[in-house]
Subunit: 341 residues, 3 copies
Amino acid sequence: MNYEKKGLGMAVFASHSALQLVLGGMEQGVRTALFGPEDRLELYRRFPALSCELVRYAGTETLDGLADEGFVLVPNGSVVEYVRPENLFRTKIKVFGSRALLGIEADQRRKMELLRKAGIPTPKEFSTPWLVDRPVIVKFPGARGGMDYEVTDDPQRISDLQIWALERRIVKGPSEVMIQEYLIGTTVYAHYFHSPIHNRTEITGFDIRYESDVDGLRRAPVSIAMRRSPTFTVVGNIPVFPRERLLETFLEYGERFVETVKREAGGKFAGPFCLECVVDSGLNVFAFEFSGRIVAGTNVYSVHGSPYLALYFGRPMTVGERVALELKTAAETGSLDEVLT
Amino acid sequence: MNYEKKGLGMAVFASHSALQLVLGGMEQGVRTALFGPEDRLELYRRFPALSCELVRYAGTETLDGLADEGFVLVPNGSVVEYVRPENLFRTKIKVFGSRALLGIEADQRRKMELLRKAGIPTPKEFSTPWLVDRPVIVKFPGARGGMDYEVTDDPQRISDLQIWALERRIVKGPSEVMIQEYLIGTTVYAHYFHSPIHNRTEITGFDIRYESDVDGLRRAPVSIAMRRSPTFTVVGNIPVFPRERLLETFLEYGERFVETVKREAGGKFAGPFCLECVVDSGLNVFAFEFSGRIVAGTNVYSVHGSPYLALYFGRPMTVGERVALELKTAAETGSLDEVLT
Amino acid sequence: MNYEKKGLGMAVFASHSALQLVLGGMEQGVRTALFGPEDRLELYRRFPALSCELVRYAGTETLDGLADEGFVLVPNGSVVEYVRPENLFRTKIKVFGSRALLGIEADQRRKMELLRKAGIPTPKEFSTPWLVDRPVIVKFPGARGGMDYEVTDDPQRISDLQIWALERRIVKGPSEVMIQEYLIGTTVYAHYFHSPIHNRTEITGFDIRYESDVDGLRRAPVSIAMRRSPTFTVVGNIPVFPRERLLETFLEYGERFVETVKREAGGKFAGPFCLECVVDSGLNVFAFEFSGRIVAGTNVYSVHGSPYLALYFGRPMTVGERVALELKTAAETGSLDEVLT
């Protein structure tokens, strides 16, 4: 690596939270390279105030080349989807955060197991449609943004969905389709940043996902809505500010998550992550998923910065800038090894 | 016009997005006059940090007078509703943006036709209730903020609504009542600013409308909600941050819209506009309406400014300030003719 | 009191809107003490940028001690719930705002009566389940954050809920359970600050409550949602920006409310309050509750500040800072008696 020669840089897949990361890097004086297929790069040429390199992605050798130029990979949801975790493991580029965790994240079973090991309450899972006795959400693997997820309490429908996923080669076996209890409550996506430099897990904010067509269907007259099954394609994110007393619970879950990742997935962890939660009417918090890297929900703080990060730094900061700050500080203090894998 | 004598000013109807425009003008050193009936002006006297003239509206001669004082009209939704497009065409005041487009906007048929000419996907329209084979939304003309819109798939009900609108003189013929396919998906209102000065169409942000009683009805128990038909009166706006990959689509639609307006409606266009969209579960984006001027959804960025405008100017900016900046720059560079009609 | 010796301070119960008040105090140079049970204080030790005293609450003598140290109580929803209004009246600590109003707020009947006396439209109330002829919401006393509220139009169910509340000792008699018309419309929580120093009632912003499980239930398939009755536990708050023309109505209601509080509840009032409103499809605004102190909905403006306060002060400001500013100004101008009770 040539961090010294050209200075450390952040390589980011050109989508998802790329704008936020470029702007955050600019704020901290850390250069950014966006990589992706040519048609994805086009968007970023339209914004004159953005300063970053644009690199056409032509396979993992592109990442190797970026590594040679002093870049480390800041993974987002799109890179996991587009480059695939197995390819990420083959490149020599260093990953900000945990390469191992990205692998676990891509496997629904191991993902939920990690949450349970952390002592974080999770929804019940069913091994077969025929044991289902309550509403469940049927989920398919990969970071496809909730596409094709379905809520039902009908075992036959679940079985049909398993067959559909097999036929479409979305899964290799029916057990890869997760049948997860659908908890009735409000979703809250809790964002975190773990800093090895400060040796602490910070809360960076919260959002609600805005999903199609579930969030549109509920506006249709009941007679029309009842004939359709909602789908959960993420279209955007809405800011939400949870009750202050819930911060205790969210913070505790975040810290337990980090401890467990360190114990179960390679000894170290750094950077942004997200616990996807449901809060029920008794204010109990359950995590139904996690993301071991920055999520697009942090985009609600773009440019203006998260007020939660002001609790640590005395001023609002975006998660993009938070990443750049940790990387810069690690480089300056010779601690890059603590934040890269 | 006396722009030189007193400096250019923005005349704004006292409602809708007036606060944002006054504050934006103050930021850029462009004076503002709010005009409207006396009872509407009262509100603006309550805010000591606002600096603007307040002018009682007494017919189109008020606008002529403002023109003499160096003001141009920055049209908002309320001016279209209150002064009526036909009167706007009779005054000598110059309009920031496109006077012709305001006329098209007021006519539902021409409005949707313009979107189709721009190659922007739109919902299907039905010429008569008796051809309806899916959920539709029945819409009445004028910028009445969604008041009395109704969703149904019952031809008889649509026919009854046409008769109701005729009797109330909301329309002159049944064909003025638009019967538009009601797409199931999430609404996203995309805001834009077209700058002849920079020769580009900027994305300025996004919001979701908060409507009564549809957004309340969905919170009622199903047994109660199913006995009522939702209504769509806009009560407010909620911030939303769409997925980054959707920005490509939104930007493309915005650019095509501007090209089409220039071609079909008088050769030039400047300023804010909005594409009212639905995003379905396949992430396809449809526009079901447009506004050829600033919409109240941009108020979600009041004072703090839109993070999207930071992508062009390096700092957040409100749409109100963006308007003032374009006007000021046009005046300074002798290009007012490019932004006024 | 020893305001002179150590300077005036704000004592705040460690929950609800405490972060906002501490940060607001820091901004204005007014010190803050957070008090509460030990396990509630822990959270605030996690945020290095917070500067405040943390005081373990051991009964009303803790408040007396804080009074001796120059602190006044800035009441929030948690202090009403945790310390109980009757205890608040026994301590010698001065209250920013109206001690009398906190008593009225805790009594559902007197609360609604105050709104009616102010000429603010309210939902109909029913004295007995057997007169109910429309959807109602059944409410229990105390600031329990909407917990256990239920919407129904079934008199038998209402009667059962009264018995349940009696058995659980939530109420002493069935009449303490309020049976309030459930208006169909969008909720808007309007936030205000009354300043005796400036002799004006300021609008400080708006939010929507995000409640469990009602806001989750509406995302479930209709067949599942129809089997459950929604509950209303507040989980968080979402920003909303009402139509500009509604500001007139909201401002008028706020001013009438303050006049009525002064007339009916001890002659003076200062500080934050909230009118909990429903806006129907005709844009009529009804208040179904009020809070005579800061509400957590103002947390949506944390750190960044409310754009509405910029209309008075020329820059965004949080309600936490607004409180500190009024207290500081009152102390500096010898007017503390006007803002404390």
